[in-house]
Chain length 212, copies 2
Amino acid sequence: MAIERRPLREQIRDELMLRLGRGDFAADTDINEAALAGELGVSRTPLREALITLAGEGVLQSNQGRGFRFAPVSRQEFRELCDIVAALEALALRRSDPAYLERAAPQLLRLAEEFTADVAERQHIEHHDDEWHDLLLGGCTNERLLDLITSVKAGMRRYTHLLSGETTLMERAAEEHRRIAERLMAGDLEGAAEALRDNWVNGMERMISQLP
Amino acid sequence: MAIERRPLREQIRDELMLRLGRGDFAADTDINEAALAGELGVSRTPLREALITLAGEGVLQSNQGRGFRFAPVSRQEFRELCDIVAALEALALRRSDPAYLERAAPQLLRLAEEFTADVAERQHIEHHDDEWHDLLLGGCTNERLLDLITSVKAGMRRYTHLLSGETTLMERAAEEHRRIAERLMAGDLEGAAEALRDNWVNGMERMISQLP
DNA sequence: ACTATGAATTTTGAATACAAAATATTACAT
DNA sequence: ATGTAATATTTTGTATTCAAAATTCATAGT
């Protein structure tokens, strides 16, 4: 058996992202390092390392002498992030192995259709959406780009949980996923990339109307 | 007078990037934390924080139990990075305030021409190039995008110092800078964005031929 | 009652100490 | 001489301690 041995800072980072996704942390609120470390059962050192990592990804802000806090949310920033991810994912799609896309297209289409029917709770849906995008970009040959997308998406996690299970949003998204998959089935990469951009831009506008 | 008070980790990060730009660190070599901390006159704690930040930016790799090392260079990764920065800077240009670009265009053109004449040493040229791109994107309204570009470019710093003062490379770059500025003078944003992409793609191919 | 000033407390930032893992060295056997 | 096992040393990963900054609280003055 291969026992897991990862640095604590990474495990902590993951745990914090999980809690963030559950909406455990109020935005724009200071983090008490000692309290959080105690709660997680670790010392402040690896916790601070995780916090610094998250600050680098834009999830947290750090102020000299005042420690870390979850960055405040704003429609403006959400727009900026969507704009970035749209461009990056479109690029990733264009840099993907065509053979991979051909293979993945039917599966992507099937998942998009399952998605429409799925009436599971919000968190499950989010996971489903992430998985779909991962599958879509699984054939991208630019490793650095994939890492970057993961990192930028982490910064968006502060927003996703704010959008309480609006099933209409999700159904629209599923529809767009299907459009993307269909373009891929037709071998129309450029069309798929365009549809992918639309997916982000539309999703953005839909979601923004739900924010504070 | 406003005295500067930044966290040590940031100052250390900047110093390490400076040294990296000077070629002080051999790529693919382990970093000895105690030794480096001693050299910098700080303790291991803020040094490690800086190292973790740099690892997040892709400048360093970290391996469990083996610490940090400067990531190895490869043509493949350099291509990936150029591809990403090209897309991001083009996006930033498209998201810039047109009024700003109109104002900046003459200055960009002038700088590009000075650049051609400039026969200063490599490091100075690099700085000049950075400044030019900063001025070019200074009107971008997407703050997150600008941060991201800075971060990705940091990851490229490992490569720039490998390209020993090839003046022909620089002259070609200056020519392309002029082309971009000219498009902006003509109010042709899309043409400028295209020229910017070309600048990166051509620069990449030119540089790659110089790498190990 | 409200503000301003200063001490007490809390919290972060940085250094040091300790534990565990990895690397290097030595001793030994083939 | 070469390879392997045991041990010593180094180095990282984590915890703890200390110092400095920020915050809170109390008190005095208006």
